[in-house]
Assembly symmetry: C2
Homo-oligomer: 90 residues x 2
């Protein structure tokens, strides 16, 4: 349990309503939901044979893939910044 | 159509098989699938009332949320790096 204030936002994804609970702002949560809705529609247009469940799993796979690739880029950037800061301080 | 070589990997997520096609390495694709499988199980443990479809959509929502937050951090880091590089070159 946490004392932190959480927002409770109802969003619509592929025509179905979901209640999202998070400490992020309502605007951020709505932006996330719109992104998921758009990604699901994009994948559905390319793979018309998928059922909603497979579509949702593949959307999750795509999002995690993008996250992991960005995390690797982020770590490389952080390393370069550390190096540059340490050079600057010498 | 693209001339780029693509990998076609069968993975298992929540006991169901999916064929993932991507230019990423087989190891990367398996790592992504394992991460999605773990995230779905984690969300299912906390929300036992969800069906698989809702579970997959909420997993996608979580992954996109993490991606967007990391992207904001990445952009700030990139800006700091640009600033530092421009200071160093003056």
């Amino acid at each position: 349990m946490s004392e932190e204030r959480k927002n409770r936002i109802t969003v619509e994804i592929l025509g179905q309503q979901y209640v999202i609970i998070g400490k992020e702002s309502p605007n951020h949560i709505r932006h996330v939901a719109t992104t998921v809705d758009e990604k699901m529609k994009e994948i559905r247009n390319k793979n018309t044979f998928l059922d909603t469940n497979q579509l949702a799993v593949l959307t999750a796979v795509n999002a995690v893939n993008e996250y992991i690739k960005l995390k690797e880029k982020y770590d490389r950037l952080q390393e370069r910044l550390n190096q540059l800061e340490s050079d600057t301080n010498q």
